[in-house]
């Protein structure tokens, strides 16, 4: 599977927590992900929700998605149009939840990617390319478990399709 999109970067670059992705001010009172999507990243980049376009990608440093278990974080990003997140590393709960809801994450060096760069990632080979400059990097391979979940459209569709876990 190949995914391509324009990169959005943030300050801070590292340890972007789920409170920053979607604040408790909103996530506790709004149940509709499309509405929540209007507030993603608000506390660190108030303009992001208005600028992000369908298919865009997020690029960050280490430990993206740390903090709370709120699944609204990956869900609201997906609803906002984000098609993939590239980071040096991800926090554990966010990592599982993103694949559970069908949002692919790629772990690779990201220092070479700039705001607005158009990046293509091949989830099978792990090759990440800046399509404007041709610059390349290789990502950590996406574990088979995650590839299966992604292909099935997420965890709940996976369980329905197979009548239980079929991840090996």
């Amino acid at each position: 599977m190949k995914i391509m999109g324009a990169a959005h970067r943030f300050t801070p670059n590292d340890d972007i927590n789920t409170d920053y992705i979607i604040s408790g001010r909103y996530k506790f009172k709004i149940d509709d992900m499309n509405e929540l999507a209007r507030h993603v990243m608000e506390d660190i980049d108030p303009g992001f929700a208005g600028n992000v376009k369908k298919g865009d990608i997020i690029v960050a440093g280490k430990n993206f998605g740390c903090g709370s278990s709120r699944e609204q974080a990956p869900r609201a990003l997906k609803a906002a149009g984000v098609s993939m997140i590239l980071a040096k590393s991800f926090a554990r709960i966010f990592y599982r939840s993103a694949y559970n809801i069908g949002l692919p994450l790629i772990e690779c060096d990201t220092d070479w990617i700039g705001q607005g760069d158009v990046i293509s990632a091949d989830l099978d080979t792990g090759i990440v390319v800046n399509v404007m400059t041709g610059e390349k990097a290789s990502a950590k391979p996406v574990p088979k478990t995650m590839q299966i979940l992604l292909e099935d459209g997420g965890l709940v569709p996976h369980l329905i399709k197979h009548g239980g876990f079929s991840l090996q």
Partner: protein, 419 residues
């Protein structure tokens, strides 16, 4: 000859029905799962899609309304109604308004036993590690899958051994110890790992102190934070009528990826500065930092010994004019015990205000949202920008109950040993 196992490897092996070691992928049976009011509605939607009838987890499941409790708005009321309706329709136990914070209520009600594997749709589910369990926070879909199938996939984590020697000095709390640990480990220093806490400094902690330490393991990225089982654990469970037969211990030849050591007697009052939990300094370094609100409570530090430590320090003194001191007991049981022992009366006489058992103002939904530009000192576990509901120059400092109480008296961040 089989290789020695850590607590995480043993508990996952027991639940997967086969011997496993770090790096293995297993499908393991889950003993219990929980969710709170911020995560339940998504879980309920997923369960309805799956055609859920009743939980297949060994000891069932529970939902807790604690993050917005009592309800602050019409929007939240709709979500609470969804949770109550589901609870009634599927006979899923619900701990409603006033019962307390999920991570105090769930263990108090006997839902967690030594040796258990527990998952929760709340990141601080790792708190139950204090009871010699493997417990971890997950998203709502994972918890729905656990409730629906009775099991879940896990990658068996590598383990870190964390040995704490010595004992904490007077007016230094378990919170100071764990803040010091997080400061040295950093926010992702234990990502995906199981941290086994051990040593005399850990054994000498009360259960309340152990819950405080295990609670914050996720602030360094950890998956599990299992403690050993001892008399303190057994007595705490027995006094609540909870059995403890399946406790586990790591083998002498278990493989730990890393070993860490600390001496509790060296620990001094600590503060995590805005806006990172690993931004830790000595409380005395922040002398002169004005505070406007002090908050005592949460799943980290809202337990009886936390309230008692604050009340003892505040006895005969009064909260500084201009400071709001807010107290949220961790549960109804904690509140009743604190009332019976005169702790609540002492806090009120010193100028504190008491809000309903629950999360209080920790997550910014109600019960103490700070004004623009204010500083808050809090016993909570997170100080991210905007966390308490206001992102306009609000600074949150995390500290122990003793430091929060001391600071409420002086109006500035204060080392409690100076009171």
């Amino acid at each position: 000859m089989s290789m020695g196992q850590t607590i995480a490897e043993k508990i996952l092996s027991n639940h997967a029905g086969k011997d496993c070691h770090a790096g293995d992928m297993v499908i393991a049976s889950v003993d219990f799962c929980m969710s709170q009011d911020g995560t339940s509605t998504i879980m309920i939607r997923e369960l309805e899609t799956l055609g859920f009838v009743r939980p297949k987890t060994k000891h069932g499941m529970a939902m807790v309304i604690d993050h917005n409790s009592p309800c602050p708005s019409v929007d939240v009321a709709k979500m609470h109604k969804t949770i109550r309706d589901f609870s009634k329709a599927k006979s899923v136990p619900l701990f409603d308004v006033g019962e307390g914070v999920c991570h105090q209520v769930v263990p108090e009600k006997g839902k967690v036993h030594p040796g258990d594997l527990v998952v929760g749709a709340d990141s601080h589910t790792c708190t139950y590690g204090a009871l010699n369990a493997c417990a971890t926070g997950l998203g709502s879909a994972d918890v729905a899958a656990a409730a629906f199938t009775g099991s879940l996939w896990f990658k068996v984590p590598e383990s870190y051994s964390f040995c704490v020697e010595g004992e904490l000095s007077d007016r230094v709390g378990a919170k100071d110890l764990v803040l010091q640990i997080i400061g040295s480990m950093t926010a992702d220093g234990a990502t995906y790992k199981s941290i086994e806490m051990r040593g005399r400094g850990i054994d000498s902690l009360s259960m309340d102190g152990r819950f405080t330490v295990a609670n914050m393991a996720v602030e360094m990225g950890a998956k599990f934070c299992p403690f050993g089982f001892d008399k303190t654990t057994g007595d705490w469970l027995a006094s609540r009528g909870i059995a403890s037969t399946n406790w586990v211990t790591s083998d002498d030849d278990a493989r730990f990826e890393k070993h860490f050591c600390a001496d509790a007697s060296d620990v001094v009052p600590k503060v995590a500065k805005p806006h990172r939990v690993d931004n830790v300094v000595d409380a005395s370094d922040l002398r002169g930092t004005e505070i406007h609100q002090a908050f005592l409570g949460t799943c980290t530090n809202g337990r009886l010994s936390d309230l008692t430590a604050a009340a003892d320090l505040m006895k005969g003194r009064h909260v500084k004019q201009g400071v709001r001191m807010i107290v949220a007991p961790a549960s109804r049981t904690v509140l009743i015990e604190a009332m019976d022992r005169g702790v609540i009366s002492q806090l009120l006489k010193s100028g504190a205000s008491i809000v309903a058992p629950g999360c209080g103002p920790c997550v910014g939904t109600h019960a103490g949202v700070p004004s623009d530009g204010e500083n808050v000192i809090s016993t909570a576990n997170r100080n991210f920008k905007g966390r308490m509901g206001n992102n306009k120059d609000v600074s949150i400092y995390l500290a122990s109950p003793q430091t929060v109480a001391a600071s409420s008296l002086t109006g500035q961040i204060t080392d409690p040993r100076e009171i």
